[in-house]
Amino acid sequence: MAGGTRGGEAITMVSHDAHAHAAPQGFIRKYIFSLDHKVIGIQYFFLALVAVLTGMFLSLLMRIHLVWPNAHLPIFGDIKPETYLSLLTMHGTIMVFFVLTTAPQGGFGNYFLPIQIGAPDMAFPVLNMLSFWTTFLGFLVLVAAFFVTGGAPLHGWTGYAPLSALPSAGPGEGLGADLWIISIAIFCIGALMGALNFITTTLDMRAKGMTLMRMPLTCWAWFITAILGLLAFGVLLSAGILLLMDRQLGTSFFVPLGTVNGVLTGHKGGSPLLWQHLFWFFGHPEVYIAILPAMGLCSQLLSVFSRKPIFGYKAMVYAIMAIGFLGFMVWGHHMFMSGMSPYSAFAFSIMTMGIGVPSAIKTFNWLGTLWRGKIRFSSPMLFAIGFVSLFVVGGISGPFLAQPVLDIYLHETYFVIAHFHLIMGVASIFGIFAATYYWFPKMFGRMMNETWAKAHFWLTFVGAYAIFMPMHYYGMAAGLRRYSQGTEVAWINALAPIQKFISIAAFITIASQFIFVINLFWSMKKGEKAADNPWEATTLEWITATPPPHDNFGGVTPVVHNGPYEYSVPGAPRDFVMQTDAEVGAKKH
């Protein structure tokens, strides 16, 4: 592959001498409390790595318990039903907040948003640093819930009141649940600071010529994700505060008159549905917060590695916006069976089917990008193609769950688990993997080992299908989620072979993730030295040095002349035209 393009014939630069940064001195300023968005991005990335390994380990324990409920594990001993519920609560919370929200947005967004728009840093570096350390604190508080009396909470990541509001409702609902709420509140504050930074940076710090419609789709995705976060996390924060008030101050927002084990709870008049409304008003946009960056990134990769402009750039941008907008109007589809008015259920269902449309447009455009391309199967591309495949399978189960009539049967079964794990979990994780393989050379100056990367892809891709495809069948046969063992209910017990198959597939897939972890650390030290533009891509991060200097472009500011996806332009000297190259006179978009 051709090397760097810096100093190439047509790159225009504007002198930027008066605004050069002095690189920070000293270990702590440089690596711990750094203000550099690149260091903060890497910090977020490693926080997410620790979190994902923790979450994965919890799922391993859960998978063991589901198949061998009476197994006695070394060190951990027995997994009791309540332990299982704690595991699933913590698995969900860690994965949703500290992996799927943290890695694509906080990690890669932080590192590459400023570079891709030609800015030397985020708008508010101090705020950026604070947002990382707040998130980190949130993670510590959450993990602490494992070690307090009663253990971690068992109310699931959705924390439905009154189960989450009453300490007497079960083990783990005491101090553990308090820590869970506090952790989420802290996370919200960190996420809000991050979102504020992303929006201001995108609006105010684009390089000359980087119009909004010349931004890479990754930047669009991060930008819209930040807006979603800005609107959603405030609501979750307030819901968390109200829940904490119910628990500690004797208010009754979410708890009606009732008893637990024949003992009056001391609350009256609250509404459990109020919590669900507030939670899902946040919760549904959160799904898009997790998936949008992956969608943006995979759009980018499909274009880069097909050597072809993205199919329908504008449609992609509008689709991202439509998803963001509609994402706030569909929260009720989580509540069809909750006792909400059946009329509003139907309205929510129509809106939900509507949100499928922009997602379908994106899928169509991804296929259109591959069509008549010249595909290079590097590891980032494999993960991007894997993402499309998983996005389709995860998306196609959406219209089943979005119809209240079918949701009567499917609600709270493994069909739901399969749906959201594929689309929000695995597809997003594939986006994160693709991002890691794609940007690792830029971040650490070395290539990752391609052979191991491909091995990792095949095992993970087939493994993900082997785990989650059978969950659809399990759900179709009414296998219920959040059951620590299926032995009690006859029809669920009959499905035990599926669970066993899933568990074995999960063990293999989990084991194969260590290929990735080892490759990651090995390549940091021993990987082949990377050129400045190893993938021959066009966006701004590839015009600068590897790794980028402290102010990203070494004292100059790029001037942008082209859209982000000018590949195989007829008449151009190479099959890619950098964004900073002289303007492509050819076709308009």
């Binding site: 009154p162 459990p272 455009n365 296929l367 008549r372 590949y567 007829p570």
Partner: protein, 269 residues
Amino acid sequence: MGLVLLVVIWLITLIGSYFIIAKTWWLPVGASAAAAAIDHHFTVSYILMGSVFILAQLALGWFAWKYRDRGAGSQPAHYSHGNTKLEVLWTILTIILFVGLNLASEPIWSSERLHGASPGAVQVEVTAMQFAWYFRYAGPDGKFGSTKPELEDASLGGAGALGLDSNDPSSKDDVISGVMVVPVNREIEVILRSHDVIHSFFVPAMRFKQDTVPGLAIHMHFTPIQTGDYELACAELCGLGHYKMHGIVKVVSDQEFSQWLAAREAEKQ
């Protein structure tokens, strides 16, 4: 690499679809009046969504192989920024497919949820608590006696667990059971309540599910059309015993139902 992708994606798609088409693991036989319509809508959705799924996956695998990089001298990629006509066409088709599918299910939803139970329906009050189900019948007077949270004691079982107020005259003839016995071919109106946290009343064979929410008495209805024993289970996370919170719906003939109710009535005297 393109060929491997094609083979793997196609294989996964075909194997995955096989188990759906073969119905290896499927819904239990429907035993309620609504089941046929719901199952039909499942089939329609599977045919439509399944076709989209299979086509998209096959195309993905096909493109990956067909448009692979064939080396330095080969044809360059086609330079195009998309096709607005195709996009508009695709968007409209998707809207018609998704919204149309949803509208087609409206009559079922309407009869299940928008309309209340008919006046002659058999009323059964379902009470959920950690981790048991209780079913209460109003008795000859047709009135449920009042209950008091202060009197609730799960360890007593039956009337004690529900906190039934024995001073209320209309509670005298209430029948409380741990098994839900209902007559076949009669509409059943369930009144769903919960003492502590949210539970969910799920009978797969009846295609019926509804959360029981503390602080609410939710009225719903279904009509069993086949006699037999059907298992019900809790479908909302309610605590450590969630996995064993299940029970039986016993659908019997109208006559057997009256006899059973009378026998329970007699037991109380």
